[in-house]
Amino acid sequence: MKPGIITAEELARLVTEWARAGAVYAPVRVRDWTEFRRISSLGEADFSRINTKLPVRSLLFPQCETMFRFKTDEPGRVEEPPEPEPQVILGVRPCDAAGIALLDKFFSGQGETDTYYQRRREKTMLIGLACNSPADTCFCTAVLGSPSGTRGLDLLLTDLGGRYLAEGDIAEVCRRFGIGSPSLAEAGDADLARKKELADKAAATITQQIDTGKLKQLLDAADNHPVWEELSLPCVNCAACTFVCPTCHCFDITDETRKGSGARIRVWDTCQSCIYSQHASGHNPRATPASRFRNRTMDKFRYTVDMIGEVSCVGCGRCGVECPAGIDIRETVETLFAALGTKQTKDAVQKAEGKTGKQQ
């Protein structure tokens, strides 16, 4: 499928049509940041930030979601929640989209399907916006991502200045909403060159490197290493990092019943909580902050590699921004490389440490 060109006006018109036929979500200004909110016109969207506060997975796997309702005097009968409507999510950054691709694997690639996630996922189209100017907290390229990556996206838009290069099948997006597809002008060589220039420049601004293969090997042998104690000391065990992470997906289930009727509700949970792995017996296999800190890092860089063959950190940088203690996962990874006794590439060491020849 050849890339097309869509002007800002054409996109605005399309958004209005989609919004009439279903739901359109886009980053919207909220106080000092942006959040995905439902919009009815493109003018409401704010693409000025690289990342929204909460990742796009909050639209597919919400913070709280009613699974079903019931009446206590009707055992075995449940009332299913209403069918989700078709939705387009506009302005998804490639890191968030890669996160959705990973969640797809977690929620339906393991033999069982999470129907609550799946019913929303099937009705969702993701339209990405390439990052022309990554933030200094971004490091997608270090974890095999890209500021212009298309993974997980139905369409990727690159802002060429008032017009967008559109890569993907826009006809399909429109078909899903039951509206006619626009015919886009084909992108010319100059447009393609400009896109490449922007993408290369964006990727070059990210200097962080992580040898994920080597990290996996090191973590495989690091269960009892004392470095986890040191790393976890500043961690306060809140849920900030997990709740803003594009790939975290742990949840708790709670029933709320009153006067004969109730609902079963799924809510986000965090492996960082002291009681996350608390057993009814009172035993807690992850009773220490070190074990919980280790769990999250291991999950991103080792356990998911074992489970689905991939690292599940997408390099969005949100955890570092929101951590109340200022913990940055890039620094965590570098400390791990240093402590677990290996050299990273000299390049990465120099950039990260600002020194030369530091013995690892």
Binding site: P62, Q63, C64, E65, T66, E256, R258, K259, A263, I265
Partner: protein
């Protein structure tokens, strides 16, 4: 979801009353034995001491359908456990001021000291509180909501 009749003229408030066993509950009992009439608005929960009343009891009563809450204990100096009501007094003062700050109308949550000998006084307190809550109307603020 309050099932009380909510039309202005005949709204019958539901009021949860936490009464300390030794004084206020006995006072309420005395009112009953003396056949003193007072509005049937209160649902009594007996506690050993007003000091036992956790602010959670009060807030959850509102959350789950009460239009008002009354907490009543022994007069200061007469607490069966000596100092329970003194500590409770501080706690209730903070809660009362905090709820006012949060916009919960004053009078929805009330406190009183009623002794075991004060049957008529207990009835009077209930009449006063019921009337106040009736004026305020059903509780719409601190009501259990459902999430998405």
């Amino acid at each position: 979801m309050s099932t009380s009749d909510t039309s202005a003229a005949s709204f019958e408030p539901k009021i949860v009353a936490f009464l300390c066993n030794w004084c206020s509950y006995a006072g309420a009992d005395l009112a009953g034995i003396s056949r003193i009439q007072y509005p049937p608005s209160i649902r009594v929960i007996r506690v050993p001491c007003s000091g036992r009343v956790d602010p959670f009891y009060i807030l959850k009563a509102l959350l789950f359908g009460a239009d008002g809450v009354l907490v009543s204990g022994c007069h200061p100096g007469d607490c069966h456990y000596l100092t329970g009501n003194y500590v409770a007094r501080r706690r209730f003062a903070v809660l009362n001021d905090l709820l006012d700050f949060a916009g919960i109308d004053q009078g929805r949550v009330s406190f009183s000291w009623v002794s075991a000998a004060e049957g008529e006084r207990f009835a009077e307190v209930v009449r006063e509180v019921t009337e106040k809550v009736r004026q305020l109307g059903p509780n719409h603020k601190l009501v259990k909501q459902e999430c998405g």
